[in-house]
């Protein structure tokens, strides 16, 4: 199984590095660092694969909605389109505007991409026995949200460092938006935490094990939280109808207006990495993580991490469907919606969950 393989590879690298360290008398600290780097490489490869898939899907789904074909020419049904885009972007000239802040201009996309990727280390990809999880933090869900919200710094650095008014406006909008929607997102997560009694993503997944009926999706008292999560996650990933930071018709390309070449590529990849981690988190919080929807009595030939990816892709597809259907909100409407609509809804969701726990319907976190 691929996930075990990954684990084994990580272990082998770790052991090999440790042996080498003993032989050469290198302090243990370096070995740990090396192991971390290996883990990071694994995550990045995984993320890149998923991002390529998501970008390809985006173009195909939008094509289907708009009665077009989407990429067709590169590879079978255009499957190699995104790698080709990546290849091209790698060899493009990297322009730093004359009056830009060079350090911030470079730091922006790096921060944005790295923070979008780091969150993946706490995702439990498969059942705990295999432990296909780089690290199991007991506050995993908070870690994901906290790390991904650091991405705002990258956007701000890029927008500010570009010395472009569109970029600055886009960055300002992005910061305001992401901070606001994070509140709503956290309120939705609080409901799940109340229900499952765990802040660890592995714990939350474990709580939904057993059967399909255990999924938070099918617990009616979780529905307000689910609704809240869907809306807030679209806002968090800056997609239509909440895509005001890069509203094409207003701000050209928003905070990445001045970025070319690989730096733009980092923003682009980071955006989809961000989208994907939000979708994966959503799948873990509400769709039972890696658990199969099949009854436990049936033999399940599909490994857990495929189930998780599938669920995340389903969430992404819904987000794409919304993106290619709705118009864009205005910046003040967006903020009003967050603070006057979503935050109260969050409190309602918490109250409903609390009530359900009080009535003994819900788990109450044991």
């Amino acid at each position: 199984m691929a996930s075990t393989l990954v684990k084994t590879i990580l272990d082998v690298i770790h052991n090999w590095a440790e042996g080498l360290a003993q032989q050469w008398g290198i302090p243990h600290l370096f070995v740990s660092i090396a192991a971390w780097i290996a883990a990071f490489v694994f995550v990045i490869v995984l993320v890149l694969l998923m991002v390529l898939l998501a970008v390809y899907l985006e173009r195909k789904v939008s094509g289907a909605i708009q009665s077009r074909l989407g990429p067709m020419r590169v590879g079978p049904i255009g499957l190699f389109q995104t790698p080709m885009d990546a290849l091209k972007i790698l060899t493009k000239e990297d322009i730093v505007p004359r009056d830009a802040d060079k350090i911030l201009h470079t730091a922006g996309p790096v921060i944005f991409f790295v923070t979008a990727v780091i969150g993946y280390v706490v995702i439990p990809w498969d059942r705990a026995a295999i432990a296909a999880q780089v690290v199991d933090l007991n506050i995993g869900v908070l870690f994901v949200i906290a790390v991904s919200s650091i991405g705002v710094l990258g956007i701000m650095a890029g927008g500010w460092g570009s010395n472009n008014k569109y970029a600055l406006l886009g960055a300002m909008r992005a910061v305001a938006q992401m901070v606001s929607y994070e509140v709503a997102l956290l309120l939705a997560i609080v409901c799940v935490v109340m229900q499952t009694g765990s802040l660890s993503l592995a714990g939350i997944t474990a709580d939904q094990g057993g059967s399909l009926l255990q999924w938070n999706l099918l617990r009616w008292w979780m529905w307000p939280a689910l609704l809240l999560y869907i809306i807030a996650s679209i806002g968090e990933s800056k997609r239509i109808p909440f895509d005001i930071p890069e509203a094409e018709s207003e701000l050209v390309a928003g905070y990445h207006t001045e970025y070319s070449g690989m730096k733009f590529g980092f923003f682009f990849l980071g955006e989809y990495a961000h989208l994907f981690i939000i979708a994966v988190t959503g799948a873990i919080l509400f769709l039972g993580g890696w658990h199969s929807p099949l009854p436990a009595t049936m033999a399940d030939p599909i490994p857990g991490f495929i189930w998780l990816m599938g669920k995340a892709l389903a969430v992404i597809l819904i987000m794409m469907w919304i993106r290619w259907t709705l118009p864009r909100l205005r910046v003040d409407q967006l903020m009003n919606f967050a603070w006057k609509g979503l935050v109260p809804l969050g409190f309602v969701a918490i109250a409903v969950t609390g009530l359900a726990i009080g009535l003994g319907l819900a788990g109450g976190g044991g």
């Binding site: 909605i65 018709s249 207003e250």
Partner: protein, 372 residues
């Protein structure tokens, strides 16, 4: 109780240059927008990036040669411009085109109006952020393009009308093609309305945005759907019927609100009215000649004429001054977008940057119509 004096929070205004190359400027226009945060304090349009000196060129071309250039004024309304020009020359010459010609001209002008409004719809969807509407509107437009191609040979620019006639009659099979389209379009428009017009986000983005009162609109010389969106049913097709418009029944939609939504609704309804006109024209279409007797060398007597027609953007005027030669002595065009755009600073002041885009899109300006 001690009074604490607090200096008002001062914020710096920034000047944003929208255009000349900007995704939503509908061609090349340049707006210097002063914003405070996101609120627009001032907006100064700069135009002329597509000033192609057509009025000067007109003085070097013979009357019949210039027809092809009229398409280039407002490229979304090519046949409407040709209609305006040809009518002006005919009035100068005192020629009456045959009835079938008049009907076909009216028919084509109305088809072109639908096509232009479809482009508006698509671009407006894009401005508001609904990308899919853009692609769907262009898809709906393609059957129209096929029809234009069948009749005139061109997709966008035609050179179809002739002084006193047409280049060719309607081709065989055109009636079927047209009726298929007329059956098809209302369904698609309904779908568009479901997708965009009745969308709550769309309404929130357009209702009460970019308000222009009727008085302001008239004083700025605003015409067309923008003026009708202010509640003034000013439509030259009704008020001063030209071509075959006095032989068909249609309503002039007008909404009193004067905001972006009203202008949008006017255009959506105008497409329905255009279809109504086309149906009647097809029913009443007379048989017969398509070319009146026109002298070989077109040399109108010295004189002048000011012809006005209703283009999809408003009142299109063509002034022709003849000195008795084969070339116009002076030609002037009143581009409706030229005057419509003048009202933009009034409409966007105090709104947000996003409202600016929504308002600009709802004016449906066309760059060569402004700059000529």
């Amino acid at each position: 109780m001690s009074e604490t004096t607090q200096a008002p929070l001062t914020t710096e205004e920034i000047v944003v240059n929208l255009g000349p190359q900007h995704p939503s400027t509908h061609g090349v226009m340049h707006f210097v927008v002063t914003i405070d945060g996101e609120t627009i304090r001032e907006c100064v349009p700069h135009i002329g990036y597509l000033h192609s000196s057509l009025e000067k060129i007109a003085e070097t071309l013979r009357y019949e040669q210039f027809i092809t250039n009229t398409d280039r004024f407002d490229y979304l309304n090519g046949l409407g411009n040709e209609l305006c020009y040809v009518q002006a020359v005919e009035r100068l010459l005192g020629i009456e085109p045959p009835p079938r010609t008049v009907f076909i001209r009216t028919l084509m002008a109305e088809l072109k109006r639908i096509s232009s409004h479809l482009v508006y719809l698509g671009c407006y969807g894009n401005d508001i952020g609904a990308m899919t509407v853009f692609l769907h509107a262009f898809r709906e437009r393609e059957p129209l393009m096929d029809m234009f191609e069948a009749v005139t040979g061109g997709r966008l620019l035609y050179n179809y009308l002739r002084i006193g006639g047409l280049r060719n009659d309607l081709p065989t099979g055109f009636t079927d093609q047209l009726h298929r389209f007329l059956d098809y379009l209302p369904r698609r428009l309904e779908e568009m309305n479901d997708l965009l017009t009745s969308n709550r986000i769309f309404i929130a983005r357009t209702r009460g945005i970019g308000i222009l009162t009727a008085r302001q609109a008239l004083s700025f010389g605003v015409t067309g759907p923008t003026l009708r969106g202010c509640g003034v049913p000013y439509d030259l097709r009704k008020l001063r019927p030209y071509a075959a418009y006095d032989q068909v029944e249609f309503d002039v939609p007008s909404f009193p609100e004067g905001d972006c939504l009203a202008r949008h609704l006017v255009r959506m309804e105008e497409m329905n009215q255009s279809m109504r006109i086309i149906r009647q024209l097809m029913e009443k279409m007379p048989e017969g000649e398509i070319q009146a007797d026109v002298p070989r060398r077109i040399k109108p007597e010295a004189g002048e004429v000011y012809e006005r027609v209703e283009s999809p953007r408003g009142e299109l005027g063509c002034y022709l001054l003849s000195d008795g030669g084969a070339k116009p002595y002076r030609m002037h065009w009143r581009g409706p977008s030229f005057y419509n755009l003048q009202a933009l600073p009034v409409m966007v002041r105090g709104g947000l940057l996003a409202d600016f885009i929504a308002t600009l899109g709802s004016l449906d300006p066309i760059a060569p119509d402004i700059d000529r």
